[in-house]
Symmetry: C2
Amino acid sequence: MDFALTIDSTSELPLQQQLYEELRQAILERRLLAGQKMPATRELARSLGISRTTVVLTYDAMTSEGYLEAATGSGTYVARELPDEFLRSQAPGAGHEKKVEVRRRACTQRLSKFGRYLHDNELVGPAVEPEINFALGRPDNDEFPIRQWTQLLNKHCKSRRFSELELPKKSQGYLPLRQAIADYLARARDVNVEAERIIIVNGSQQAVDLVTRVLVEHGDHVGLENPCWFGAQTIFEAQGAKIYPVSVDANGLNVEELRGKRVPDLKLVYVTPSHQFPTGVVMSLPRRLELLDWAEKTDTYVIEDDYDSEYRYEGRPIPALSGLDKSESVIYIGTFSKTLFVSLRLGYLIVPPHLVQTFAHAKWMTDRHSPLLEQQVLADFIAEGHFERHIRRMRNIYEQRRRFAIESLTRHFGDRFKVSGDNAGIHMLVKFQTKLSDDEIVRRAQKEGVLILRTSRIPEEDTAEFIICYGSLPEAKIELGVSKLSSAIGRRS
Amino acid sequence: MDFALTIDSTSELPLQQQLYEELRQAILERRLLAGQKMPATRELARSLGISRTTVVLTYDAMTSEGYLEAATGSGTYVARELPDEFLRSQAPGAGHEKKVEVRRRACTQRLSKFGRYLHDNELVGPAVEPEINFALGRPDNDEFPIRQWTQLLNKHCKSRRFSELELPKKSQGYLPLRQAIADYLARARDVNVEAERIIIVNGSQQAVDLVTRVLVEHGDHVGLENPCWFGAQTIFEAQGAKIYPVSVDANGLNVEELRGKRVPDLKLVYVTPSHQFPTGVVMSLPRRLELLDWAEKTDTYVIEDDYDSEYRYEGRPIPALSGLDKSESVIYIGTFSKTLFVSLRLGYLIVPPHLVQTFAHAKWMTDRHSPLLEQQVLADFIAEGHFERHIRRMRNIYEQRRRFAIESLTRHFGDRFKVSGDNAGIHMLVKFQTKLSDDEIVRRAQKEGVLILRTSRIPEEDTAEFIICYGSLPEAKIELGVSKLSSAIGRRS
């Protein structure tokens, strides 16, 4: 050996690691040359005063990593083509940045159609939290009964039953949770469904996404309410669907617009019958039956997104489409994002019996199953009555906030506004009397620190209709937001 | 009014609900006829001794549900087309069951290609848990430090910071977790990556699924190791990709098989370089650099699934492809399913800068973001050192189990078996000396209560190679399983 190796037996570093680093450096600094024969392990061990095993293991590691090459019967050599040399030759040279830049710009060509849609569209909302956020359709996190929730978390952590969902058959979710949901739906929504038809998903977003993937092919037509929940529309569009908009009147979706020669073949119709988003209209029973009748005759699936049926402040709830469905046409979507908290990411699908296995497979393929611990906690939370207690409590709070918001609007706008839709939910649709364009109103509100959503997705179309989400805001914030809106809209341009 | 209405002011039922039920029954029983004019609200209120508001609200509700019809200026009428009558006429009649049955059988025509793949393939595993499950590639849940985990859960529940991820910009996941992962990767994997490039997903299953959706179009070719992880193959196939298999030798993927005229244009190549699944081979550094070189020249993405690099029992880990990548070609997949527990459903993607926004959008579209609470807990769990302590502890346990499993196989099989692959991971590939077919071995093992996976996905191809997952099994179970395997394979047919 014509080079020095420093092995320090008092060092904290393991001998093998020291030897590895020393040899690697020697090779990289050309003190050991490419193709050069390495000393025999026994010889090197003796010269360094370390065990032969340490040398053997080091040689093995360096061989597997490409620094050394073993020739059967004739010993070990420094590799002819060195990994780090390879690395250096790969080091970014002139023109590298430019090449990467070209590649970046060309990346859309390497994306799927889905990927291109995501690449080309700006799908994110505001990066900065506004002072008053009237666009946030979520419950009030401060009112969530976190104590009970934490107790149940502790209980289930302690029980360590983490492997409940490991068999693939279980991708539908934790059975006691599915049972608790089935029982709740029978009590609260007049929907009688077996737990076998329920699939636990990560919120209604994943529900709509799974439905789209399983049913919709690029180029297919889907029927959507007009106006509709933008989130659903985006998923359908991203998946390549063509949107067929269907108007909404005081009774809900205009089913007659689904008939006629000029209507394309629809793969599905997506509706929010219990509280149409955003208009707030409740679909009447005759209209529901008409829709189901149409679905059966045309062999079309109806997607019922029941996102906030828990909050109805007057009248009796109308039976869900899913409960009325006799021809296995309805796929029902439920969520806990409006009743518990959004970041829980739990919701569920109820699918017709003939689709259960396909959707269970879809969930398995997408992400196996939703996280178990929260499912265990939620199952108990529902079964022990906390869930319905919480809903009852929040229903009062939200009803009061809704009333307060309308009072506040009256104080500031007099009769220059109109609230449409049913007395339900955690948002409302407000139409202002104004000559300002919708965009101008959004801009002016934003300047005042208030975020509101316009209803119309068409930039040039001015409806003066805006969504005001009051659910997560205490009265003082509602009042502040409305007064800011008033100075925003009140000013003449 | 020519019919009796019973309103009981002492009943627990609200007056409005009582009135609703009474009127509904009267309408359904034809005591009130279709088209008949209803009494004026003032009149009815007086006759029943209740407030007029109660009557107005009841009429309103029944109008919105279709039992009554309001004619402007001329009062309220019983609806001409009654919802419940509609319901009855819809009741399943003769031939209904048959119609539904036809519809069920025809349902594949209404599915997307993706849906049809899921419908047509049996993707679930065994429904009954076997006595000894050698097919379960998961860590030992009993060894998980649940106390620390629970403490962190409690801490974050108490802090109630549930709205951290509500703005769409945050679909990439909880920033402190992404930072903790970046720091960990720099320490443990020599991967230097900014938190901005990390996207938190629900385990590596969702990671592969997102990659497929964003990059792969129906009919595209993808390169896969042969043999490979079946889970990835299934996702690619379900998404309509054509599989181009590339063989694996002692240095990993045979990159030269990616070159040549007969190789189709590949959209991506999916590899498991740190511990090839299932062979257990570690991809050598020269091979890694060769792959990256090929990827840059052909403008192809390389998907690096680093599923169990934490468990390496000798030699130094080779730098991850992601750390060596200079041309923004590598998409890295990490998971906590092998280090913490499977039902946590947390993993992450590291994507090149030019793909970050597209993947953030994909996650947002798919299910918004992964559940927050577990992300908060995991961020602390890593930052406070629990994670690496746990890995070090488990590395010893798994290494010992691996050694024990080999000893146990030697006791029962003598030299009639061979373990291939590196000394790493929580599974190993075992090749038995036997004349039995692979299927026969699986069948016989099953009879003994042991589940093992054959390596070859081709039913007729017999390799006598099986995957033995030892990670989650204590020594007694490993011994029992091997002894059962021995009696299964030992017997001559």
